[in-house]
């Protein structure tokens, strides 16, 4: 029987190199989802704090739906739904054509949609924390609406929203584990393969869990650094 250290080593007998590839996939997915989710979340928050009732209703519908659905179900809806929709679309032009939906892209869409609906709530409460006088001050010195948003409101908004967004980042990092269910080779799937081949399930799933923990610890160091940087800008104002 091989020892634990051989199983966890790098190289032909060990599984660490395979699992490391999974780590790269997990990180790539989370990092690729983040900007999409932030951008959509910000737009939804803008819609939800607008004076126009129809725009507010549209934004609220989005959050209600995607916060109410389980992440795994959203992922399957995107994965299989996109497959069927694209298939129908392709068959309009080429009756024999088939499409394969990329697991990475559907994971990115599903996680992005979930992330953005939570992020919009964080942005919304940050918007509410900014006094109206800030906008009026901006208009009074002759800034346009867009300039006020960009130069006056946004810098304060980011500072207020940062803790909430950091929390969402950690949730996103954990949610990426779900894509292993649609066949993307992330940490958990690689660990699962290793567990099935070597019959050391506890070892490998424990290893995977520890890797997630390390990623979370590294992220919280990064988040602290960002928070310090943003806080310093405020102090020197």
């Amino acid at each position: 029987m091989e020892s634990v250290w051989t199983l966890l080593s790098w190289g032909p007998d060990g599984w660490s190199d395979n699992i490391f590839n999974g780590v790269l996939v997990t990180i790539a997915l989370a990092v690729a989802t983040l900007p999409v989710g932030l951008a959509i979340g910000f737009l939804i928050a803008l819609a939800k704090q607008s004076k126009e009732p129809s725009l507010r209703l549209a934004g609220n519908l989005y959050t209600t739906i995607f916060r109410g659905l389980p992440e795994l179900l959203t992922l399957f809806l995107v994965f299989f739904g996109a497959q069927i929709a694209l298939q129908k679309l392709v068959q309009l032009f080429d009756p024999t054509g088939t499409v394969e939906v990329n697991a990475f892209v559907s994971g990115m869409i599903a996680l992005g949609v979930v992330f953005s609906s939570y992020a919009s709530e964080v942005f919304l409460s940050a918007f509410r924390a900014i006094p109206h006088g800030q906008y009026e001050g901006g208009y009074a010195v002759g800034l346009t609406k867009n300039q006020t948003m960009r130069l006056v409101v946004l810098p304060q908004l980011i500072r207020i929203a940062l803790p909430g967004l950091a929390n969402l980042w950690l949730i996103l990092l954990k949610d990426t584990a779900l894509v292993s269910a649609v066949g993307l080779n992330d940490i958990l799937r690689e660990a699962g393969v290793a567990a099935r081949v070597t019959k050391h399930a506890f070892l490998f799933f424990g290893y995977a869990a520890l890797i997630y923990l390390v990623l979370a610890i590294i992220s919280s160091f990064g988040i602290n650094a960002i928070e310090r940087a943003v806080g310093r800008r405020e102090a020197s104002r």
Binding site: A47, S50, K51, E52, P53, S54, L55, R56, L57, A58, L61, T64, I65, R67, G68, L69, P70, E71, L72, L73, F76, L77, F80, G81, I84, L170, K174, D175, T176, A177, L178, S180, A181, L188, A191, G192, A195, K199, H200, A201, F202, L203, F205, G206, A208, A209, L210, Y212, L213, A216, I217
Partner: protein
């Protein structure tokens, strides 16, 4: 000037609402949403198949029952576990609080799916030992493993909620109760908890909602909850409405719970409103 003049002065009429950019965007987006909704209704109506419904509807209802059972058991067990955890986390003994902190950090820092796998597949590695203590028949069932994993997970979150709520009650409340001669347990039960639970209600509600949503992952370890039934139905029929129905059921469950919590919060904070 007479008083009549004042009543004659009316408020100027509201300026007509023009078609601003925001209003146009809002209407376009709402139109898109309603198109999507109509498309869904149309899809469900055209693919309505009484035989299929008759065959799979009972499965869906038992799936919902299993989901609710799973969430209910693990939330109650988690709540019981969270009490000693929160106590350890708040205790002045550094070893106790470090253990509780490590527990909470582990369960909040790793994906629920990884924890479930660790218990469902991982405990199989300890089969001889588990058989020796007679626990193997418990852990052989996927449902029991799921309940076990979920209870441990939610205990970590609930301990943090409980701790946050208890610490949100000002220290003066403890001191006031102590000066009235109440001992610690009495203070906790009669003074602190009633105030803390108001703070904790919303996070608790969110936790239950997260558990309902998180419970979908047990489908991966072959528990036939709502999601598991959905996957089974889809793999047999290749009919996409299987997923649409699951989405509707989950949305209804979550929304009902959310509104119920809002209603309870309204009720129990009546004395705070002026």
């Amino acid at each position: 000037m007479s008083a009549v003049d004042i009543t004659a002065v009316e408020k100027p009429p509201e300026p007509p609402r023009g078609w601003t950019k925001a209003r146009i965007t809002g209407h376009v987006l709402l139109a898109l949403w309603s198109l999507l909704g109509l498309g869904l209704v149309w899809f469900l109506a055209t693919s309505w198949n009484p035989e299929l419904i008759q065959k799979y509807a009972p499965g869906y209802f038992s799936g919902i029952a299993i989901t609710l059972k799973l969430v209910a058991i693990s939330c109650v067990v988690g709540a019981l576990l969270s009490i000693p955890l929160a106590y350890m986390r708040m205790s002045k003994n550094t070893i106790l609080s470090a253990i509780a902190y490590a527990y909470v950090y582990f369960f909040r820092g790793t994906p629920l799916l990884a924890q479930t796998f660790l218990i469902y597949y991982g405990l199989g590695s300890f089969r001889p030992q588990l058989e020796m203590v007679g626990l193997w028949s418990f852990f052989r069932e996927a449902f029991n493993c799921a309940v076990f994993a979920f209870a441990l997970n939610t205990a970590a979150y609930q301990a943090e909620i409980l701790r946050g709520a208890i610490e949100s009650v000002p220290r003066g409340q403890w001191e006031g109760a102590a000066s009235l001669g109440l001992h610690k347990l009495q203070t906790l039960r009669r003074i602190i908890l009633p105030q803390a639970l108001i703070v904790a209600l919303r996070p608790y509600g969110n936790e239950v909602i997260l558990m309902i949503k998180g419970s979908a992952i047990v489908a991966i370890i072959t528990v036939y909850d709502l999601m598991g039934i959905t996957r089974l139905t889809y793999s047999r029929t290749f009919d996409f409405q299987a997923y649409i129905w699951a989405a509707i059921f989950y949305l209804v469950m979550v929304e009902v719970l959310r509104h119920a919590i809002e209603w309870i919060e309204q009720r129990i904070t009546r004395h705070l409103r002026r």
